[in-house]
Symmetry: C2
Subunit: 501 residues, 2 copies
């Protein structure tokens, strides 16, 4: 029997020993029932510590290859082969799923996407830009040009961190908006959803505490749930996250991450005030908690003065800044980015590489060229003209068609109205009724982890043209009236409202 | 104080109670030091079991919001605010990384990609197709056409499971090759690397046992290491995985997954024989272990009769089949697919959605059209003419330029030669010497989890033209001669080879 140690190898010596003995056992060179050399003896022969051999033998025992008995030494195990011929049967897949994925995945996003893909449905549910405004001809021309000129390069792999000229353009853009970043701080993502997932992997272990706004983006709530963390929520008011409540939580728990959508928040449209931004950063600093700033809508302000991003105000590197081209340009490209301190980017690059090697190269090249030529800015100008008109058309239609008691806000940017239903209506019931009329929206409780939001709905105003918005709200109003009349005819069970102190 | 229970909500009653009391505490409505109602009393008032209230109070205690003391009841905690004004300091990022990502990520793939992106380097390292053969004009025409005709749709989102016509084309293709699959069995992936990551998430918990071939694809070995599993390896011979050794492992451990690259294996080029395929499936059946069949090279056979995939021979649904367009067409597109039983696909769709919502839509549409027009098949024919010539050129150059004792195989398909170095040479040292001459390859130990393979290298023969292959091997031969001469002049320490029994 031979064990051959390679002291220049990065593989620990105990593993070299156990691996080589394992092979001897599995190949039959060491037969069942035969004894391994005593630990002390083998250690001497190999010139290693006895602990090294002890560890090697423990590895083998953990594999079920050997038994260690006091007095008998370490013996190659005799196999108990399974009582054989069973009737062949299919694999019971759901029983072999990992424990970490056995929690209840919420199929809501998938179902919504499927529903919205149906023709004739007026969707206020999707968080997507207006396809009728797509700068299609410009993008087509750019793609064709980069393919013609650089096709053999851009259809190959690119580095996991992204195409350098795109990272340069993004860094420059962020510097223009006040953030101190260089291309080395930028990681290109397969959509910002990937950023949420990667950051969760990087920072969160099961049982950790994460803070998010309530309500918030349902896609991120699901990522956190899948990570097995404990999600604590901070309520919003018209100035954004209630920072005083946040401090109460920070004092009492040790969160690993604060997730916030500070600008034109999803679903409420609210923007965190400048004063609160400073307060939030001071808290992150004092309690040394990272902030994940999700900013898909920052460029889509229709009125008023821009507020700097948290990243732009971040003095000590507490902010991970996440954004995407999905709301500004095309969601189908799956292109987003994260701006973060270098140690974070370096680690995330290695994790990203394991998940998809890198983001698709063609999209990165085409987008870079599109942005460099000023075509993104031109498109954004167009959006900033059209979207507020759609928002106002939706507000007018709500005013006209919805029963008294319906309330909504009129956010200065972003994609959504956050709409409160008249007393007695529940968004889930309304959604069922509205879907029968080919209109869908997001029921508020999907944006809450703790079962709140039953009387709210999120209405997207960017996707459809003004005519369809008006028609959709008209149908929505009908559905509301219908439900209210039904309730008057047959009153529902009163809510259980009980004073307890 | 009000607790308002909603019995129609999916949120458990105890969480509704704890959430509402939490808000009251955090907002200051319930002040520090005040007492919550006794559990029994609150249970009576709300008409719930006492356990419900007990659980709610435990939640609050876990959040650090209340203290429960026998005799005093449950009291809102008094805060100990941190001793304040500290000097501001940057966040120590590496200390806040999650435990699950603190293991040693191997930057090898990233470093290789960076190295290969350098000009003038002859790379036998990358596992990529020949850019000079790209059907660029055809692909450009197809992209332009689909953008012109369907741009407003294909730049939007698509379902997480993938674009249906692509799933249909893939299913049809696999049926032609003997597998029983329908579009419902197909999940489109952002490259096959994503499939490895998703399958690891779906099936593996930390500490689980996974079986892989040794040597194997380094990207998958890293995914398994990141998942925290115990990787047991089965050696290969010229007929592929040694199935008799596999059975020994199956008897002794309870693996959750067998990962195999049965056709033109990476890195060895070996193909699992038909007989062993049946044996492997019988073992998977007997021990009810899923098989992940990774088949990126199946279409790239240059000689001999095709062997059916494991998926085509799979009678009871044990095989997850993974493949990609990265080796057949363009790696930069990031497009792969998984074929699997429906319960697996259904679950993976939900997981994928959390990681990147869906794979980029433009690529899926363009590829579908490209495949439907027969352009993929025409391109594959071309590759099957050119690649074997490059392989033979490489073999001839090895014969001509490398010192005696260098041995290699001549695989019937795929991308790689697996090459054994003359006695005394180590691949890592050779790589350093070769890199000085602008030639790189994959050192064999990168393909081993347990430190073997030091005398092997993997040489890709598809990426470069015949001239560059010859030139690269010539430099490689020089590097080998140089190292051997240096060793004769100054003999290295003899390997420690000690008999221990």
């Amino acid at each position: 029997m031979l064990v051959q140690l390679d002291r220049s190898s990065p593989v620990p010596l105990y593993l070299q020993i156990s691996n080589q003995i394992r092979e001897l056992i599995l190949s039959g060179a060491l037969s069942e029932g035969s004894r391994l050399p005593p630990q002390r003896e083998l250690a001497l022969e190999l010139g290693v510590n006895r602990t090294t051999v002890v560890n090697a033998y423990q590895e083998l025992a953990a594999d079920g290859l050997v038994d260690a008995t006091i007095g008998r030494g370490t013996v190659v195990r005799t196999l108990s082969r399974p009582a054989s011929p069973e009737t062949p049967s299919p694999l019971p897949w759901t029983e072999v799923f990992s424990l970490r994925t056995r929690f209840a995945y919420d199929p809501l996003i998938r179902d919504m996407m499927t529903l919205c893909a149906q023709k004739n449905v007026i969707s206020f549910a999707a968080g997507v830009p207006a396809p009728d405004l797509y700068p299609l001809d410009e993008f087509r021309a750019v793609i064709d040009e980069v393919l013609a000129q650089h096709g053999r390069v851009l259809l190959q792999h690119c580095p996991a961190e992204g195409y350098l000229p795109l990272r340069e353009w993004l860094a420059e853009r962020m510097v223009e908006r006040g953030a101190q970043v260089s291309p080395r701080n930028i990681l290109v993502l397969t959509g910002s959803q990937q950023g949420l997932d990667l950051v969760a992997r990087l920072l969160l272990d099961p049982g950790d505490v994460v803070i998010a706004e309530s309500p918030s983006y349902l896609g991120v709530l699901q990522v956190f749930q899948a990570a097995g963390v404990r999600l604590l929520t901070v309520p919003l008011d018209e100035q954004g996250m209630q920072v005083n409540v946040l401090e109460q939580i920070l004092v009492r728990s040790r969160p690993k991450l604060i997730y916030t959508l500070p600008t034109f928040q999803n679903p409420t449209g609210v923007t965190l005030s400048l004063e609160r931004r400073y307060q939030l950063l001071a808290l992150a600093q004092r309690y040394q908690v990272p902030i994940l700033e999700d900013d898909p809508y920052g460029e889509l302000r229709y009125e008023g003065t821009p507020v700097p991003s948290l990243k732009a105000l971040d003095r000590y590197g507490h902010v991970l800044y996440l954004s995407t081209f999905s709301k500004m340009l095309f969601p189908g490209l799956r292109l987003g980015w994260l701006a973060a301190p270098e140690p974070v980017i370096e680690r995330l690059v290695l994790i990203k590489q394991l998940t998809d090697l890198h983001t698709n190269t063609l999209g990165q090249w085409a987008l870079t060229e599109f942005c460099r030529r000023g075509l993104l800015d031109r498109h954004l100008e167009r959006l900033r003209e059209v979207y507020p008109r759609r928002r106002d058309v939706m507000c007018a239609a709500l005013e006209r068609y919805c029963p008294p008691g319906t309330r909504w806000n009129r956010p200065a940017g972003g994609f959504y109205l956050w709409c409160h239903l008249p007393a007695g209506l529940r968004a889930r019931e309304l959604l069922a009724e509205a879907a029968r009329r080919q209109v869908v929206f997001i029921a508020g409780e999907a944006c809450h982890v703790n079962g709140g939001g039953q009387e709210w709905m999120r209405l997207n105003f960017t996707y459809h043209t003004e005519d369809l918005i008006t028609e959709g709200v008209r149908r929505l109003g009908q559905a509301m009236e219908e439900l209210l009349q039904r309730q008057q005819a047959q009153p529902v069970e009163a809510l259980s409202l009980k004073p307890i102190v």
